[in-house]
């Protein structure tokens, strides 16, 4: 099950494949169709996987460069979406490791980008908005602390709404493993949330 606003696989594939073919024929500008279509998805995924807006923008650019460089290896009879997701997740795994090494001194990973999204403030009071923003930021930080594979499965399933079989295809693992990773991700997240909020007097914002 894809998100409702996503195009049908057949239509997505027809448009994207035509653009891929044109790009391979030498018209690099046709690649813009691919970039326009998948930038929102890759940015959302990268932001959740890496936790920072600047890192996510850099990652999206690098992922597209890899996609562009690898276009010839794409099998035209396949769907493009799982293929691009696979490249993205592999890139994000490496990016996250580099980023973690670079910022090892930080004890709290910044995740204000996710918390700063507009919307709730229009409907609720400032106090409740702050509460929701803190919770969302803590959720983002907790996500960054679980194993890469668990995080990827959890984000693709719970937040991006992909099906188990789609995730299995993208990650190259059996469906049973997807389910196991999802379950463990949820358990680990729950464990983290309780453990990290236990020590402070109000229990808030310590994740």
């Amino acid at each position: 099950m894809m998100k409702e606003d996503d195009p049908s696989p057949a239509r997505e594939n027809a448009e994207v494949l035509a653009a891929v073919q044109e790009t391979l024929n030498g018209d690099t500008s046709a690649f813009r169709i691919v970039v326009d279509r998948y930038t929102p998805l890759l940015f959302s995924l990268s932001l959740r996987m890496l936790g920072g807006r600047e890192d996510a923008e850099e990652a999206v650019q690098e992922i597209f460069l890899k996609v562009f460089a690898s276009l010839r290896s794409f099998k035209l009879e396949k769907r493009f979406l799982p293929w691009i997701y696979t490249i993205a997740l592999n890139h994000l795994r490496t990016s996250f490791k580099k980023r973690s090494r670079r910022r090892r001194v930080e004890t709290v990973l910044p995740h204000e980008d996710l918390a700063a999204r507009p919307g709730d403030g229009d409907r609720v009071g400032p106090e409740h908005r702050l509460f929701l923003a803190q919770a969302e930021a803590a959720a983002g930080r907790a996500l960054l602390r679980i194993r890469h594979e668990y995080r990827a499965v959890f984000i693709l399933r719970a937040l991006e709404g992909l099906s188990v079989s789609e995730i299995a295809t993208i990650m190259g693992i059996p469906e049973g493993t997807v389910k196991t990773f999802f379950r463990r991700a949820r358990q680990n997240l729950a464990e983290l949330i309780f453990r990290e909020t236990r020590e402070t007097p109000d229990g808030i914002g310590s994740i």
């Binding site: 690649f31 460069l65 890899k66 592999n90 959720a139 719970a158 190259g172 379950r183 997240l189």
Partner: protein, 202 residues
């Protein structure tokens, strides 16, 4: 019910409701009462709830990001910088990977009546724990093609069956984190990220 009891009950409930079909099952009344009067547990549940539902408001990418991406793609497409293998580049790569000796052998052999070519890649890296190769043929997946040191002599090897009449770019990955070009490849090309890809033309 105090906080510890609620935590225990919440985790038990979570375990009993682990299903992929219902990502965010409704909290039963018995578990909803405590967080209603306890700000800390209400916060904990809210954190978990944020992790358990698709976003009602999707994250928006910067509007100029596609344009910047295309500019980078056009730069790469318009000006690929090819260069021959050079000793300093190799020395830097090896130093970064902290390996004593690296030796590469590439032996393409054509199989008759076949559209593929068997390519054997070998890398002497006696201190490596793992060696893999990522390239155009495997969507740059650093885990799909691993080399093996079968006889323990420090030389890691892999045989690949690649479509012929194609050009492939690739790098070796040592211990899952150090990306290095093939030091003996006939052609090296900048990868656009400050590194170097090796080119295999078969």
């Amino acid at each position: 019910m105090n906080c510890r009891e609620w935590e225990k009950n919440f985790k038990n409930w979570l375990q009993a409701n682990e299903t992929l079909d219902v990502i965010r099952p409704t909290l039963p009344r018995s578990l909803a009462e405590h967080p209603a009067g306890c700000p800390a547990c209400r916060f904990r549940y809210q954190v978990f709830a944020n992790l358990s539902q698709p976003d009602s408001e999707p994250i928006e990418a910067p509007t100029d990001l596609p344009r910047r991406v295309m500019a980078a793609v056009q730069r790469r497409s318009a000006a690929p910088v090819y260069r021959r293998f050079s000793i300093p580049a190799f020395a830097v790569a090896v130093a970064a990977a902290a390996f004593a000796a690296v030796l590469m052998i590439t032996l393409p052999t054509r199989r008759p009546d076949s559209s593929t070519v068997t390519v054997r890649l070998a890398l002497a890296a006696p201190r490596a724990r793992t060696v893999a190769v990522a390239g155009d043929w495997n969507a740059w997946n650093p885990e799909s093609d691993r080399l093996f040191d079968v006889n323990g002599d420090g030389v890691w090897e892999i045989e690949l069956h690649l479509e012929k009449n194609k050009e492939y770019r690739y790098q070796f990955i040592i211990n899952g984190e150090s990306w290095i070009p093939d030091p003996r490849a006939g052609l090296q090309v900048e990868d656009g990220f400050g590194g170097t890809n090796s080119v295999l033309d078969i």
